[in-house]
Symmetry: C2
Subunit: 335 residues, 2 copies
DNA sequence: TTGTAAGCGTTATCAG
DNA sequence: CTGATAACGCTTACAA
């Protein structure tokens, strides 16, 4: 069984008693075809279970309808929220997402982009990692649009969407000071991606302007367990910090759990904590974390809108900086 | 700029001074081509930035290399872990994942399958929801393989992977009894998907066998906030339960937070809680939840292996039941 | 091993 | 509005 395989426009045409071009036109929005022919074609198609072959269509039109999503750590709350929003918006725009997981190797962003080229994707949205300059040039030459999320690098060509991390750092500093914190720390992973580093340096600079020195600790990957480890390191210091800005929410959650369970600290009375991302768990009762929201829907909208724009315009405005809203909860003592 | 578009095998052939079939063969594993020609072709391809057009290749071979992942609630911890594992394993098997988000509408699983047919996907893996019988038949007729995850329905045709929920229910009942719990409850969402219902009925039956009646509460969707709401309902009862099996971890986390914060209950001293899925957060310090692990890697392996199998074998063994391991943590009083 | 030629299922062009 | 015909870029007999 099952050797019959797919049904083609040819067969539909025969069945409906029309030419194959009539069939094609019926399934091409805005093509001129009479209501009667259309009806006959649709009936025959339904009966036979015909579906336009997007492979062949993409071959002809040089536009596959595929958009490649390139990401690592897809199971992470923030990343998965982004993937979810992206797939949704792409579908709304009539596109379909191809998801490439780059967890394994390091040069895999480049490999992912080659996949995108091979499938003649209309665009690639890079949610994590950074492609090599040469492959970027290759993509652009091939008409494959590139969107870079959360990368403040000075890459040429790709459309870049990122957040104003400096501004966020300044705002959270003010909040810490108003809460009466005296010894501030920044809890970072050792990943040193642009956005993480921007938060770190932004926080340090903002504190410097107030004459305060920030204790910085970096360790491991950007995860919950890293947060616990950072708590271990920061809270055993003689000059124990009383206000900690964590590079993201995952780290903050780990930090809070360790602070409470291993150091019996009360939050926010003895320790104020802030995070970044506003992942779902930040709103959970055990954390109720003050953090910055990176509105994934806005990012997705922004990216997908840009895909719909003409090439001319696309090249004109190569980047966008969004603002991260401060979500005030109870992990910082109220002013 | 960028109007040059993609480079074809034709151009590579010209550049390398060989026929276009030589180029094709060079990129077809196991085709007969001399080392010398191969070298020339590879050099020319590299120089020109040639990439095989998978659209055209798929058209010829009737095998696109695309596997469609159909899922709702992709941002959820369990679901995103599954998506991550699936994409990884598919890539290892030389396939590529197309992700279709079915959050929006209800009949969207069917729509997603139509997409899969249109792109001539080699298979579709349905992570949530249930397709209509007619579309399933259409897929199968078209040679599109179907995998159904966590669906114990009596669907014909698709390969089904699910967990032994009954067994899990029996085991957790034993644990509750050993912990000295007297009044048991099952906290479920109103989604009533097969796996959720299997856990519920399995738990009820197991308790019945011991002469115990289970309080069942169902509410809303399968989420953290539902867990809080269920705590509200269950913990205000006159016969307040002291052992609660939650349909999944997300519900359990919400339940625990509400139990502690709104009812000042100590877990596990005054209340034992168990969940299902073993999402990352179940292991976080604030929850340390006893739960069942649904090993996403095993599921993904199982699904992807089946895709590689010949059609004959594929039809022979239409389903697999995996065992969910009990992950013992501190949310149930120790025996 | 190599090249030639015939498809794969579309869409776009161009007469009618 | 409709139908033939020529691409699109590739793979695969078949013949050399």
């Amino acid at each position: 069984m099952a050797e019959k395989e797919f049904v083609s426009a040819q067969e539909v045409a025969r069945r409906a008693g029309v030419s194959r071009s009539a069939v094609s036109r019926t399934f091409t929005p805005g093509a001129s075809v009479s209501a009667e022919t259309r009806r006959k074609v649709l009936a025959a198609a339904e009966e036979l279970g015909y579906h336009v072959n997007h492979l062949a269509r993409g071959l002809m039109r040089n536009e596959s309808g595929i958009v490649c999503l390139i990401a690592s750590e897809v199971a992470t709350p923030y990343r998965s929220a982004l993937v979810s929003a992206m797939t949704q918006k792409l579908q709304d725009a009539g596109k379909i997402a191809m998801l490439v997981n780059t967890d394994r190797s390091d040069g895999s962003v480049d490999a992912a982009l080659r996949q995108a080229i091979s499938y003649r994707a209309d665009a690639s949205i890079i949610l994590s990692g950074l492609p090599d300059k040469s492959i970027v040039k290759l993509c652009l030459k091939n008409g494959l649009r590139l969107v870079l999320i959360n990368r403040d690098d000075d890459q040429e060509g790709p459309f870049r969407i990122s957040f104003d991390n400096d501004e966020a750092a300044r705002r959270i500093l003010t909040a810490f000071l108003r809460a009466g914190c005296r010894r501030l720390a920044f809890a970072n992973s050792a990943a040193m991606t642009p956005s993480l580093m921007a938060r770190e340096t932004g926080f340090i600079k903002a504190a410097e302007a107030e004459g305060i020195e920030v204790i910085v600790e970096r360790y491991g990957n950007t995860s919950y367990s890293t947060g616990r480890m950072l708590a271990q390191r920061l809270l055993t210091r003689a000059d124990r910090p009383d206000g900690v800005f964590c590079a993201n929410d995952l780290i903050a959650c780990g930090f809070m759990d360790a602070a409470r369970q291993q150091f019996s600290l009360s939050i926010p009375d003895q320790l104020s904590v802030a995070g970044f991302d506003n992942i779902e768990q930040a709103g959970w009762g055990s954390y109720d974390l003050t953090t910055f929201s990176q509105p994934v829907d806005a990012i997705a909208d922004c990216a997908v809108d840009w895909l719909g724009v003409t090439q001319q315009v696309a090249l004109a405005d190569p980047s966008v900086t969004l603002h991260a809203d401060l979500v005030w909860r109870s992990s910082i003592r109220g002013g």
